[in-house]
Amino acid sequence: MLQVDSLTKTYPTGQKALDGCSLTVETGQVVAVIGPSGAGKSSLIRCVNRLVEPTQGRIWLDGTDVTRLGRNQMARMRRHMGMIFQEYNLVERLTVMENVLSGRLGFVSFWQAFLRRFPQADIDRAFELLDQVGLSGYENSRADALSGGQRQRVGIARALMQEPRILLVDEPTSSLDPRTARTILGLIADLARERGLPALINIHDVGLALMFAERVVGLSQARVVFDGVPDQLDEHILTRIFGEADWRQTVRHAGDDERAMAAANQADDGAPVSPHADGIGSV
């Protein structure tokens, strides 16, 4: 269970990304964090595993105060937090298998890591995870030879390889096309539920958030302005969260990319095309 209490983050530039945010993620819950760009969503997620240092506030994971841990203790704590990144952040030049196994780096010795002699149990689990994310047979492909969706699957496998107590997911689908985005997010949600893992997912696409999350937290201008179930989200609240930004624009449908390209081709012929052509409707 994750508890965040009055979390504040001010960057050295003076930008206040988080202002007294508090929330709780129960065991086994999939929580989506939505909000306009710059609202602080990414900072929130990164504060939990302290890739970003909180300025003020406390965070507890299963009763341990994460914010008060020293360097080595924090490293040990991170082993229990699996993170999935927007840009996948795989080690490009290593193989898929090495990337997945890197989830266990915190648990093996230096020499085991150096010689790539991971325990058989780890290797078994790695193969299993690769099957579960649909990448059997890819273990020896180099990471940079994979497509975006495939890379994110490796990222998911890596995070799960840690057998974490919580999944921290930072915009997992923003770099993917709409169809793959839906598949990937569904995969994350399913795998989390199967394992009873709490998951904190930072997501830009409101539609996807509502589709897969049990709870939604809305961030606007560094503050939590909504914390409830998807059904409670209506026009008013969404407008309050997104303010000026049109939340509808965040919603992408499968086929959106194709339609946009077709529209652009039409524009080349001289026919005027409005930017909000078909395809973007209500949630």
């Binding site: 193989t95 298998m97 090495e98 790539r116 058989q120 290797i123 078994d124 790695a126 193969f127 299993e128 099957d131 579960q132 649909g134 273990e139 020896n140 598949t183 569904g186 995969l187 399913d190 795998l191 199967e194």
Partner: protein, 270 residues
Amino acid sequence: MTVQSGTPAAPRSWRKPPMIRNPVLRWGMLLAVAVYIVYAVEDVNLDLARFIAGIPKAVEMAGDMVPPDFTRWPLLLEGLLESLQMAIFSTAVGVVLSVPIAVGAARNMVPKPVYLAFRCYLGLVRTLPEVLIAIFLVKAFGFGAFAGMLTLTVASTGFVGKLLAEEIEAIDPGEVEAIRATGSGWLKVLLYGVQPQTLPRYVGLCIYRLDINLRESTILGIVGAGGIGATLYNAFGRYEYDFAFAILLSIVALVLVAEWASGAIRARIT
């Protein structure tokens, strides 16, 4: 996409795929490298005992070096100034000469035989170490800074010439074509079509070469081509380590100042 674990699989092992797939080739190369290192160490008499024996000598030398002896600073300054003069002159003349050489060595500027001739010159100049060129120029022109200046000038043409030629070969042919289309002669095409595109890189190269020439100028004296090198060599030869250290410190200081200055100038231009 939910998951089924099917029948439990037999334990699958995995090893990192090696960089070189063919095991014979891989082990062959590793063996070759190991054998070579053993052989090379043997050939060079890389004797750990001698190395260790040298350490007390090194400590002793270090002790003699400190404190550095600056009492003979007129000699030191004279040598440094001469090195500086050598570097500046050679760079100035060298980079000017580099321009026609670079044009001659650019495939897109001149006919093939001319290109080959210039490339031969560049290959020759760049392959021989500067010190060797200096030895011969000393034989021809006598001891002193003149030979050193010529050496560095020639070396500069080789360095800047090749890199500039590559830059010229990489320019946008469209711009050159446009100038040609106005009916301009070859020289004007150079001035308006080629020069503007290559000027920034050229200036950068000039400053870089000045830096290198300054460093080289400090050692050409060892073979009699002027500069502080001779003074340094003699100091070591006479076991005057404190004076030698003073010279070394001055050289390092000079090089650092020059590097800082060149960095500042380059930042200004770009």
